[in-house]
Amino acid sequence: MSGGGSTPYLAVQFRDMEAQTETGKLGVWLFLGSEILFFGGLFTAYSVYRANHIELFRYAHFFLDWRLGAFNTFVLLTSSLSAAWAVRCAQLGQRRGLRLTLVVTFLLAAVFLVVKYFEYSHKLHNGIAWGAACHPSAEILASLPDTARALPVPVHLGTFFSIYYLMTGLHGVHVLVGMGLFAWLLRRLPTFGPDHWGAVDGVALYWHLVDLVWIFLFPLFYLI
């Protein structure tokens, strides 16, 4: 159904590639708006429980290592840079640069998840699970700073960790989906060029949102 002068990537419902790219971008933005509200429910839950049980949040943050969080923040910010760079490469038709930046972004996402895996497994190994299943082991309690050890273990410590696992877990799922999307872009690499880069742009926008959510999660859990 391609008309005269159009590329093979032009879908039938669009008049030209510019309309297609712009419409695709608008669609991605709308979807991302929806994503923010999806996370918004969890941020609300965080705020409500923090307001009602500040002691829980004060106590629980001793279990989170800010150095790991900071490292992961650095990893994700760098990956956002490489994702943005990938869009630029696609627009300029630099196929080698595009491959490199996509692979780098993919690998950085993987590094993020590996760090997350070690954090999770360390906690779960020490009995720090979610909700009713949260029973910190004696060793990990002994490793807390003195100020924390003086306090009794809060009754519903698990609720904090439910929120922690939910928010970072949902974010982790998004990172995983992002890796899938970058792999998909790599498979379609030969199709991208100056007149066909909408998909790279859309995935990069998504990735920036994933990054942005983490920018909020890091201070909320690790720092304050």
């Binding site: 159904m1 008309g3 005269g4 879908a11 039938v12 419902q13 008049r15 309309a19 712009e22 419409t23 695709g24 608008l26 669609g27 709308l30 979807f31 708006g33 929806s34 994503e35 509200l37 999806f38 996370f39 918004g40 429910g41 969890l42 609300t44 839950a45 409500v48 429980y49 009602n52 979610w130 909700g131 009713a132 299943a133 009754v155 519903h156 698990g158 609720t159 439910s162 929120i163 939910l166």
Partner: protein, 550 residues
């Protein structure tokens, strides 16, 4: 699209372009997706309607007796859940909207046809989970799924299936909203400005905003409910340290705006039909357009009026009550503009118009009784009585379903290429209206007198109310059966529809009935959707033609 490519295509309707099951279930054509939605949604109405009739039969006697109380609880839960999630929310946007949006814009398809197909299959998946709920023994929580009751261990598997179903349906709804907003923004015909949009599109645009902003919160809520039930997270269940009122806030943050997902598209249909069948441009176009947006925005700030007796702070209740009453303003703006459109119009009592006239009566009552419920002081005694049941059935069934039927009859010739029988159509409209009033007006009185909702039995002084209501429900059902019969019969014996059987001015009526695969023989230019000058009725076969046009 070049003109020679279009010219070489045979002028074959979308219904004939491609045959076999695969050409339907994997189609990207918005029109075929719309037909699939329509079929699925009508099947769901049938299911929900049977539940409703069983409920009404059980309420014939004060002591119930047709089904056990346990079964009654499950019936009203699934009646509500099926009707809301599988009919009134997706009904107009997904079935009629999918068909009409690109046609009214002069576009070849929606912006994202693949996403559209995905949205349909998510809907089908969600519907299957709902039916599966029935298979494993049903749920008895009410459609609101409030914890702690709904998330207790003893509720069984059904609740998990229902939550999964709602999640999928929500995802489907979000994708439809994204698609429509992008389509309306970017796919308008050349020369079609924002204020040349048919008002149905303004309504769907406002609906899309709500779908995108509110639905994800429902998604996360049911996901949390699911995880709470499986992993005991301690978010909603008090026994693990959770807060059940938080669930209510989350739930109504979606579910109140969701009633505008239901009513706004209905109002859009009314705006189209009332103008075409008054043979008069719509009165107050910009006010109607902007009131849709106003309703969408204010609708986000009123959810707390569902929780006046849930223990939220008195201050919050007062503010929510005030904000709720604000919604009445844009709603009234629409209503008065519709009535002004009728004034001195050449009113044609075709079936869609009869439905719309009954809509005015029903929506008037439904809207005004909403004021009683939005006002804090009157809501507290009326809360959880049949007054509430009657009110929301007036709006959701009376108004939304009536407008849905108006739209279905109005666009039926475009969808199928056949004209339905006007006599059957108008009989169905009047029977439906009478049945509806008989069913739900007595419930207002029962509610004011204190009859609580959601019980399988009732005090004997409400016997008359309930019997009238039950008789009315069967009249209502027979009206709907007649409507369905008239439409289905037209597929075999209906006259062939011309491109423009109504003398309407918006772009969808310049396409063939039924349209070809990509809608228009040539990409059209924008038109004024309510400008009837020059439209002339040529003959029943040729329909209406604009003078000076080809």
């Amino acid at each position: 699209m070049t003109s020679n490519a279009a010219a070489m295509e045979p002028a074959e309707s979308y219904l004939r372009h491609g045959r076999g099951l695969r050409s339907w279930i994997l189609t990207f054509d918005h029109k075929r997706i719309a037909i699939m939605y329509l079929s699925a949604i009508l099947a769901c109405v049938l299911l929900g309607g049977v539940f409703a009739l069983l409920l009404r039969l059980n309420l014939w006697n004060p002591s119930g007796g047709l089904v056990s109380n346990d079964v009654y609880n499950k019936l009203f839960t699934l009646h509500g859940a099926v009707m809301i999630f599988l009919f009134v929310i997706p009904g107009i946007p997904a079935a009629l909207g999918n068909f009409v949006v690109p046609l009214q814009l002069g576009a070849r398809d929606v912006a994202f046809p693949r996403v559209n197909l995905l949205s349909f299959w998510l809907f089908a998946g969600g519907a299957i989970f709902f039916v599966a709920t029935l298979v494993v023994g049903g749920i008895d929580t009410g459609w609101t799924l409030y914890p702690p009751y709904s998330l207790e261990e003893s509720r069984g598997l059904g609740i998990l299936l229902a939550l999964t179903g709602v999640f999928l349906l929500g995802f489907s709804s979000i994708l439809t909203g994204v698609n429509f907003i992008a389509t309306i923004h970017r796919m308008r015909a050349p020369g079609m400005g924002w204020f040349d949009l048919p008002l149905f599109l303004w309504a769907l645009y406002a609906t899309g905003i709500i779908q995108i902003v509110a639905t994800p919160v429902l998604g996360i809520t049911v996901a949390l409910g699911f995880l709470e039930r499986v992993f005991h997270l301690g978010l909603f269940m008090p026994e693990y340290g959770g807060d059940p009122v938080l669930f209510q806030h989350f739930f109504w943050f979606y579910s109140h705006p969701a009633v505008y997902i239901m009513i706004l598209p209905a109002m859009g249909i009314v705006s189209e039909v009332v103008s075409v069948f008054s043979r008069k441009p719509i009165f107050g176009y910009r006010f109607i357009a902007m009131s849709s947006i106003a309703i969408a925005v204010i609708g986000f700030l009123v959810w707390g009026h569902h929780m006046f007796v849930s223990g939220q702070s008195a201050w919050a209740s007062v503010i929510f009550s005030f904000l709720t009453l604000l919604v009445a303003i844009p709603s009234a703006i629409k209503t008065f503009n519709w009535l002004a459109t009728l004034y001195k119009g050449a009113i044609v009592l075709a079936t869609p118009m009869i439905y719309v006239l009954t809509f005015f009566a029903i929506f008037g009552v439904g809207g005004l009784t909403g004021l009683f419920l939005g006002t804090l002081a009157t809501d507290v005694p009326l809360h959880d009585t049949y007054f509430v049941v009657a009110h929301f059935h007036f709006v959701m069934v009376g108004a939304v379903m009536t407008a849905f039927l108006a739209g279905l009859h109005y666009w039926w010739p475009k969808m199928t290429g056949r004209l339905y029988d006007e006599r059957i159509g108008s009989v169905s409209a009047w029977v439906t209206f009478v049945g509806f009033c008989l069913t739900f007006i007595p419930q207002f009185f029962a509610g004011v007198a204190g009859m609580p909702r959601r019980y399988a039995t009732y005090a004997s002084q409400f016997t008359v109310h309930n019997r009238v209501s039950t008789v009315g429900a069967f009249i209502l059902a027979s009206g709907l059966v007649v409507a369905l019969y008239g439409l289905v019969a037209s597929l075999r014996s209906g006259r062939r529809a011309p491109a423009n059987p109504w003398g309407a001015a918006s772009l969808e009526w310049t396409a063939a009935s039924p349209p070809v695969l990509h809608n228009f023989a040539e990409d059209p230019r924008g038109v004024r959707p309510y400008d009837y000058t020059g439209l002339r009725h040529v003959s029943d076969e040729a329909g209406w033609v604009r003078e000076g046009a080809r």
